[in-house]
Symmetry: C2
Subunit: 247 residues, 2 copies
């Protein structure tokens, strides 16, 4: 099942209309009145399409806008001098990209489309301007930034104190939950990322990810066929998480 929003596809350059977007409830416009939505429409006027493997932005590029994912999915990653890469997140529709760029007025990570995707461009200066007038927008934006911080803390927990199988279980459950929110099946989905990308995100080698998938399958928790995942025992996966490491 594709990670695309159920919205009419429209040619590039066409006005993005938050007021008509079915992702409203999950995205920046959440909580806005009709009138306020129209003000936001004026701000979020441009959409951008990206093909698989295209970069939305790269580390070092000047920061001018944040992006709301309208369809498709992305990964973000940071690179060290020695070339080591760390995937910092996988983003899907309604999620916001580019918040890291505010601090230094330059992007500090790379954002790459994992499939053909479409984003709404939100010029940041204009967003700050409008959010000075629209209280609900201001608050929603702050919530989104804060949510990103909370999410990051979850990843730290995962990387800092979980074993390989726990990490992968947490990863699958997180995906499942986010698919549910978006109206997709929470037990069957396609992974848009490779084992290596999952491994980078989870602080594991790709072989370890692959082996953990196989072991989950052997235990009857999931069925894996390459990128296709079928969760058979969601409680079983959950149980892997809530147990002390020694069981």
């Amino acid at each position: 099942m594709p990670l695309t929003a159920r919205v009419a596809v429209s040619p590039e350059g066409l006005k993005a209309a938050c007021s008509k977007c079915n992702l409203q409830e999950l995205c920046l416009p959440f909580g806005l009145s009709n009138n306020e939505l129209q003000q936001l429409d004026e701000l979020v006027s441009v959409r951008k399409r990206l093909k698989r493997h295209e970069h939305l932005y790269r580390s070092g590029e000047p920061f001018e806008a944040i992006y709301a994912i309208r369809a498709g999915s992305f990964k973000t990653s940071v690179v060290q001098e020695d070339g080591r890469v760390q995937v910092t997140g996988f983003q899907m529709s309604s999620e916001i990209l580019g918040l890291d760029g505010i601090s230094s007025e330059a992007h500090t990570c790379d954002a790459e489309a994992l499939e053909d995707s479409e984003v709404c461009v939100i010029p940041f200066a204009k967003l700050e301007e409008l959010s000075r007038e629209v209280v609900t927008l201001q608050h929603q934006f702050h919530k989104i930034m804060s949510r990103e911080i909370v999410r990051d803390h979850g990843v730290m927990m995962l990387l800092g104190s979980m074993r390989a199988e726990e990490r992968l279980a947490a990863f699958l459950l997180n995906l499942s939950q986010r698919f549910t929110t978006r109206g997709f099946s929470h037990t069957e989905f396609h992974l848009r990322m490779t084992r290596e990308e999952i491994g980078s995100y989870l602080g594991l080698k790709l072989e370890t990810v692959s082996r953990a998938f196989s072991r989950f399958q052997d235990k009857g928790l999931i069925s894996v066929q390459q990128k296709h995942i079928h969760i058979l025992d969601i409680d079983g996966l959950q149980a892997l998480l809530s147990q002390p490491p020694s069981i």
Copy 2:
């Protein structure tokens, strides 16, 4: 050398005055005009003292304010159901605590003083209000949130793709850099946290942290005496970071 700001200590309840605080340049007031600073003074009116090991807030408590550290230092940590703890950060003077609470209107981590400390209480609703009027304040606040996200990405990199000694070297260099910014020695300082807390933050066991310290000492990079650290070869520490894992 203590992690306290060089400010006159004043009895609890006394007005916090950003306009007179020597941490201005590092903290929320950065970039504000004198007039704007006075507006901020009205908002940030209360300070709070905490003794070592006291909690500023705990996970689950309602979120009402963020806090600027005026003196002392803190650790923040998240706890899993099974009791496993992950330290998500160590904060020192001028840094902001509590941003994670915005998203759900409840704190999502614990903040504990590592030494006797003092924070400025910044009621969040009022901050949002004022930042609708004061552009520079709004922007500075957004930068602070974004900086937190960037910092978290750095921790992910550390946890996801560095080995034990690299993590500890990165940790020491980060501390050193932050002490420098605050006008303290960047080669000599006291750690306010235990080996176990460092380990939790770095995704290592306390024994591993201890052994890595000893090895750094053997190599002549630092001298350690319990919590007292003296960096002897800062370039040597840096070199540990920029090398591929196999050397």
